[in-house]
């Protein structure tokens, strides 16, 4: 009997409740329909392609009220559902960094330091179950805390996929960002480091929704949530296919021509004034009984310009050894110095004068741009070299060197691939190798068929540039032109 009564009571309550709710709804509805804009449609979210993961792209069709319709839409808000665990993760992250920041100054026993540590302890207690003995030995205590926090952090990290799978329990929608009206895509990209606050986990089923905003932010049209969608890294970047093709073609070209050259077909290389001049310059130095200064520039041993310069240096050193002239090679980089020493030594060997080689021909100055220039300028005015050769990477110092060289009355031969510096060398030096000529010079001097072969390959590549460019021009008038031009579009 009592049971029946209870049922009736519950039923009655339910009815009232739902009735009340409905009335509520009705009111709501009327309000909404009065002002809310039409929501965006077919929201779609997918893993951003060709990336290392940690990024989702959200797209949608514009609301009819965006531009057209009532035109009420001022922009869109993108929301992601994030479980409570994400919040825990953030606070754990904060605590971890705080503890780590505190670790170094355990020695500091000042009042505020103690205050900081106490607040840390509180935060810790709030987050971590396993408690840590608060001892006099702060160091061990802090270390223990860090270990525990880290553990908890990693645990939380592992828990994320499950937490997202739990949608929609125990979590809330989090505003990611706004975009202007008329925009229909948003990239939810985050950091890959879990320790970064912008971290977005991979392999978690995210849910997204989009709000169409109006001037009054309380009024908006809301889409149905879309999901789950996971982000993850790709193993091949399709956006870079053109580069891959270029790699293959160019590699093939080089290998073909190198092998042709190996078979001993003699390949022509146009003479380079700068290089022709080197020999005369060395001769001149010999006549005047003055040394030759060779500057390898500011590049590292890995810079192509420097590598080319090594070859040229080898040639110069050989000639110098034959003529028995003095050679000065001040270097900017220790590694470059060691390589240059070997180059010079071996060239003296080739010239059949190994014992003429002195270890202080090539020496290190300093690894600071202007200190190096200061020193080299000094050397120029003291030794008055008959010839100065600058080959390699040069920056602001190019003109300083070249003008001082002119002041010392030496013949100057320069070559660099730093476009900004070429003008100064052109102006101040007697001969200048412009950009690629520097690389060509090493092949030209070496006269090794292999190097010449690759030079040929470069020329064909340049021809390809011209041909493609022409084709592109014509294609841009044809209806199918974009097909061709797209071949050269490298995305990301």
């Amino acid at each position: 009997m009592r049971y029946v009564l209870r049922c009736v009571l519950v039923a009655a309550l339910l009815i009232c409740g739902t009735a009340y709710a409905q009335t509520e709804d009705m009111v709501e509805d009327t309000v909404m329909t009065a002002m809310a804009p039409a929501p965006a449609t077919n929201v779609n979210a997918f893993d951003t392609d060709n990336d290392h993961g940690h990024s989702v792209t959200v797209t949608w069709d514009l609301s009819v009220d965006d531009g057209g319709g009532t035109g009420a839409v001022t922009g869109y808000e993108i929301h992601r559902w994030s479980p409570a665990e994400m919040v825990t993760l953030d606070s754990l992250r904060g605590l971890l960094s705080a503890v780590e920041a505190e670790l170094p100054n355990v020695a500091d026993s000042s009042a505020e330091a103690n205050l900081r540590r106490d607040s840390l302890r509180l935060r810790y207690a709030a987050l971590i179950a396993t408690s840590v003995a608060v001892g006099d030995d702060l160091d061990t205590e802090m270390k223990a805390r860090r270990a525990a926090v880290k553990e908890a952090f990693l645990a939380a990290l592992d828990g994320l996929p499950a937490a997202h799978a739990r949608y929609p329990e125990n979590g809330n929608w989090q505003l990611l960002g706004k975009v202007a009206a008329g925009v229909s895509t948003y990239s939810d990209a985050g950091g890959k480091e879990p320790t970064a606050s912008s971290f977005i986990p991979d392999y978690c089923g995210f849910h997204y929704k989009v709000h169409a905003l109006t001037a009054d932010e309380t009024v908006y049209g809301e889409t149905a949530p879309f999901g789950p969608v996971e982000c993850y890294g790709q193993w091949f970047n399709t956006g870079r296919v053109p580069v891959l093709l270029a790699v293959l073609i160019f590699g093939a070209l080089t290998i073909i021509f190198v092998s042709i050259a190996r078979r001993g077909a003699d390949l022509y290389v146009r003479p380079l004034a700068g290089i022709e001049a080197v020999d005369d310059a060395i001769g001149r130095a010999t006549e005047m009984g003055r040394p030759i200064l060779y500057v390898l520039g500011l590049g590292t041993a890995a810079d192509v310009a420097t590598i080319a310069s090594f070859t040229i240096l080898g040639r110069v050193a050989k000639r110098v050894a034959e003529y028995q002239t003095a050679l000065i090679v001040p270097t900017y980089e220790p590694i470059v110095m060691t390589v240059a020493q070997e180059v010079v030594k071996s060239s003296y060997l080739d010239a059949g004068r190994p014992d003429d080689y002195k270890d202080d021909t090539v020496f290190f100055v300093t690894q600071s741009q202007f200190a190096y220039v200061a020193a080299v300028n000094g050397i120029m005015l003291r030794e008055l070299p008959a010839t100065c050769v600058y080959m390699g990477k040069f920056f602001a110092e190019s003109l300083l060197l070249a003008e001082t060289g002119a002041l010392a009355g030496s013949i100057q031969i320069a070559g660099t691939d730093e476009i900004a510096q070429i003008p100064f060398f052109i102006v101040a030096c007697d001969y200048t190798l412009i950009g690629e000529e520097l690389y060509a010079a090493s092949a030209y001097l070496g006269r090794e068929p292999i190097l010449l072969g690759s030079l040929k390959a470069q020329d064909y590549a340049k021809a390809a540039v011209v041909v493609f460019a022409l084709a592109g021009l014509l294609a841009s008038y044809a209806s199918w032109g974009h097909v061709f031009t797209d071949l050269f579009k490298v995305t990301n």
């Binding site: 670790l103 170094p104 100054n105 870079r240 053109p242 580069v243 270029a246 790699v247 160019f250 390949l267 022509y268 146009r270 590292t300 041993a301 890995a302 192509v304 590694i335 060691t338 390589v339 100055v365 300093t366 690894q367 600071s368 202007f370 200190a371 200061a374 020193a375 300028n377 000094g378 005015l381 003291r382 900004a420 070429i422 003008p423 100064f424 052109i426 412009i434 690629e436 000529e437 060509a440 092949a443 030209y444 010449l452 030079l455 040929k456 020329d459 340049k462 540039v465 011209v466 493609f468 460019a469 592109g472 021009l473 294609a475 841009s476 008038y477 031009t485 050269f488 579009k489 490298v490």
Partner: protein, 269 residues
């Protein structure tokens, strides 16, 4: 002549002392501490020492130069040590060291890999030993290899593929038939005619420039002519960019002189 040298030296020393005293005693209106006065005077004299190089090489320049070399080398060394070794390496390899240098220790499962660069680095130092010099090629090979790999793709992308696509400029801008073209032909910068000419010049320029950089073909006949045009265009460019830089360079000198006149002599500003 020798006496002159000593005379100059004495004069410089006296000047230095005077300026130091003047600045310290606030003779220039600003009241610096003795120390600051010394440092500013020092800076000023080093500045002048370097500038004296313009007249000719001299002991003062030599002094400044050698001091500069030493100090700068040390500066970079310290910076490198604190930023890379302390900031980058110790946190990865040793807790003791990172605590000693007050940097947060970052333990990681794969940190032991950092032994490799250390070993390579030590191999690099083998260069100093007469016997093991060849070992120093290993680290070098590592660096050169990685850099080469990087350069290979990077430049192929930026200087080959990208450059091609950026040369795809339509020579004929918004072409609407000859009638339309000739009816409103104009020399305004925005006008179609000028635009076309510009694009044409750019295209021909690129073309001739590339021809100039052809090495495996003799520059004769039409080919030679094209390469001539190429070098002309290069020269025009170099001249222009030289002219551009003049202004910036002068402002550098202005900066230095302002330092001398304001911070040191305090006669302007």
């Amino acid at each position: 002549m020798k006496n002159l040298k000593w005379f100059v030296l004495a004069a410089v020393c006296i000047l230095f002392a005077v300026s130091w005293f003047a600045k310290a005693s606030g003779g220039d209106g600003v009241d610096n501490s003795v120390l600051d006065a010394f440092l500013v005077t020092l800076a000023a004299f080093l500045t002048l020492a370097i500038m004296s190089f313009l007249y000719q090489d001299n002991p003062y320049y030599k002094f400044a130069e050698h001091l500069f070399v030493g100090v700068s080398a040390a500066y970079w060394m310290c910076l490198g040590f604190w930023s890379t070794v302390v900031g980058n390496l110790f946190p990865r390899i040793s807790e003791g060291l990172s605590n000693f240098f007050l940097v947060p220790y970052q333990p990681g499962p794969l940190n032991f890999f950092f032994a490799i660069p250390i070993i390579l680095g030590i191999l690099l130092l083998m260069r100093l030993s007469p016997k093991g010099g060849w070992l120093s090629r290993w680290p070098l090979a590592f660096i050169v290899g990685t850099t080469a790999g990087l350069n290979f793709v990077r430049y192929l992308r930026s200087d080959f593929v990208k450059q091609i696509s950026s040369t795809f400029v339509p020579l004929v801008v918004d072409w609407q038939g000859f009638g339309h073209f000739f009816s409103n032909i104009s020399l305004t910068a925005g006008g179609p005619l000028v635009m076309m000419l510009t694009n044409l010049v750019i295209f021909i320029g690129v073309f001739c420039g590339i021809v100039y950089f052809f090495f495996s073909k003799e520059h004769t006949g039409v080919f030679g002519k094209a390469s001539r045009v190429g070098i002309w265009i290069l020269m025009i460019t170099f001249g222009a960019s030289f002219g551009y830089t003049v202004m910036g360079r002068i402002s550098l000198l202005v900066g230095r002189l302002t330092f001398l006149f304001t911070d040191w002599l305090g006669i302007i500003g």
